[in-house]
Symmetry: D2
Subunit: 254 residues, 4 copies
Amino acid sequence: MTNTQVTLFQIDNYGPWTVTPEPRREADLQTLQSRLFADISQYVGARDGYVFFTRFDNMIAVTNGLDVTDHELLQESISNRYPVTVSIGVATGRTPIQALSDATTLVQDAGSAQDDGRREILDGRIVDDEFRAPDDVQIAHFDVVDATGEYTDELNAFDSFIEIEQGYAALMRYMRRAHDSLSFFVGGDNVIAVCPDLDRTAYEDAVDHVESAVEVELRVGVGRGETAHEAGMSAKHELEHCRADGRRLSLGWE
Amino acid sequence: MTNTQVTLFQIDNYGPWTVTPEPRREADLQTLQSRLFADISQYVGARDGYVFFTRFDNMIAVTNGLDVTDHELLQESISNRYPVTVSIGVATGRTPIQALSDATTLVQDAGSAQDDGRREILDGRIVDDEFRAPDDVQIAHFDVVDATGEYTDELNAFDSFIEIEQGYAALMRYMRRAHDSLSFFVGGDNVIAVCPDLDRTAYEDAVDHVESAVEVELRVGVGRGETAHEAGMSAKHELEHCRADGRRLSLGWE
Amino acid sequence: MTNTQVTLFQIDNYGPWTVTPEPRREADLQTLQSRLFADISQYVGARDGYVFFTRFDNMIAVTNGLDVTDHELLQESISNRYPVTVSIGVATGRTPIQALSDATTLVQDAGSAQDDGRREILDGRIVDDEFRAPDDVQIAHFDVVDATGEYTDELNAFDSFIEIEQGYAALMRYMRRAHDSLSFFVGGDNVIAVCPDLDRTAYEDAVDHVESAVEVELRVGVGRGETAHEAGMSAKHELEHCRADGRRLSLGWE
Amino acid sequence: MTNTQVTLFQIDNYGPWTVTPEPRREADLQTLQSRLFADISQYVGARDGYVFFTRFDNMIAVTNGLDVTDHELLQESISNRYPVTVSIGVATGRTPIQALSDATTLVQDAGSAQDDGRREILDGRIVDDEFRAPDDVQIAHFDVVDATGEYTDELNAFDSFIEIEQGYAALMRYMRRAHDSLSFFVGGDNVIAVCPDLDRTAYEDAVDHVESAVEVELRVGVGRGETAHEAGMSAKHELEHCRADGRRLSLGWE
């Protein structure tokens, strides 16, 4: 059974900072946001976790394998190198949405995202080493069937993007409501979902739902592991099988 | 009348590169994508343009103020510092979608995004200095009314994200179909749209549409300028007026 | 005749910042310093200038081609993305040392490097476009003859480094005292010097001096141009001639 | 007794890469070198090690606390995100120079730095956890007495730099020859040395030597620890004592 450890990173007082004393250059905000995300991705990724850019001022990560000290060091390093600081909530749960919900509450209870007095909260609980198991994390890696042929090489780049975005919006809502999962667009035509224990049928239903709702054809590879990297790399390999032989679904443990 | 110069950046042969010889670590792909975007944002932004991460392997920019040599140097710099290269199409048009469409065609005509032989295309046309005007670019900066109070401090971080994503998906499609505009989520609860000459009514209709379609309340500041930075900074200031006094729309030229 | 435009970038109040409230992690300071330098290198380099990391809290650049507004934007962008700010002095002169000296004075006159009240000074003069000429900048690119064979593949990495460092220390002092030039180690076994109008003899004497003083054998390519990039790229090509045929000196204009 | 674990990072085939097919823009090389260093600094630093930029194509690190798998992951991550790869040698020794020497030999034995066929060597030995001790690493942090008052606020920025560089060149050679230590300039007026077990007298002699040889007045804080970060942070605190009360030497364990 899954036991997902989820971390929420929230930049402290970001909204006000971006417009004080005057609105800051958009290109610089985009650069700061992206590079902060990239740094967190390197740090968390080196410990076999995954982080998703999400809203950039709020970033969600799967951090099985990182302990509290790991989070503390990351928080300190960010405060040494950026003009902003981050607050962090960590929680675990049988479903990703439960863990994420608890992680959010930890940060919210300490103060508003725009509370000038709230800085560098660090609170939560991790999955202790003794309780970790090979099926703690389940990752599904979706992409669009023949995106290059159907969209990228055919439509203008924004209409391609609309199609992929509509597919993502439909999938994210369905996976959350029907399956307590967290889904993230990760570039290209790829969406990575963090899931509880789901079976073949759940994924088939999700793919069917998106096709009916927005006419976007997805396929998916799914993997399990002790960490997001382990589960996610398995999922990538399963997706390669789909790409190779036309399957729409491939599970790493079957 | 607007005369938007749009650039499409497309990483050459990226899909295959990410899985050859084996799928690469996701955290590294995220880092590479984000830092490439950040570098392009700095380069384009320093010349008063705006670039949007879009799909990361395809990035759309408003580049009024950059000439062909500027694009060429950026392309060369990327090839010196990254393990991938980019192809570039530049075009201009009375509407952003027209310019983006032509820019896309220039790249597509040179070869597929996954054509191993297509590398570092650079093609297109810019707005010559003598033809530039103070209303070449129109930028609308949307955000969600009281996002912090309604979402960030209330819902879990993923449900907040779903709300904002649904709002974005609805807005992007409407603005493209009804108004030939290109809309991009830029973090937080913010969406920046690149528009042709639109009037008050067009923006009011867009805000109403999104509220009806997905129950997300937007407000918007709009600006004009010779460059994206000029138009966008004006839009940011107009949005500050909305934040201050409850208005749902403020135009920089009224 | 050369007319070098030199910019001094000095981080404001850096010493105190690094130890307040407590000494900060060294790895984070190294990261911040290097990335700030990298950003300045991209910005200045894209305008055909060169910047040298020097002491990291003080960085020296050759900025023929950048005007005051260019410096202002760079300063603003840094303040938007880093936890520190920089003060900037720009000056021009017949010799690089004269320009650098005047640039330094502009910053010093505004306040101490550790004066908590001094922030974001921007002062100085540039070479106006109408006065620019193809021989404004002279760059000499030195490297060590057969460094790989003599040092890198033979000695341990620190003893190789000592040899190169001793060679650099001797060259930098000689070029400054005898020839009013500024010399900078740029990695590997390479030193780039910013020079006034020097002839063949001056470079031969410098190479002889270093060989006598510390037994390090240098060779050098020299170029001229309107910008550091133009002069420096010419110097690189001349150095390639030296590498190819055993010459110890090659001038781009002979 | 110290038991320093030293890692040598050497970019594969870098010299040829920088000039193939043509010499690359210097500003881009500087950016790539600095950002690669910054990434290694973050990775190694997060595991409580220290890395020094040294020659940029060859970087030396103190890596007590990192195992072989840690080095392997770093090497893989670099290959995923940069246009170059690195070879790595790791070794341990009673003195830093011995460890560095063995680490270098591991890389040299596998092939020349400019051997096009040598890529991503990873070889060596670490200090196993069971053998680690609180005095494994000794770090000395030197700076120049009143550098700001004597140099930065008084001389032009290059003459300040010459003074500091001459001080560094003298110190690095003395510490290597007399004390088997590795010394690195780390910015500002700071030099960090990695030492074996040295006592008070050794440091007093080093400071005296530099004052006699080049008239640069140094002071030094020294610390011990299981890792470079632990020893180095202790050294920083000792140096703060020197700054506060005028002492020229302060040892963390007395």
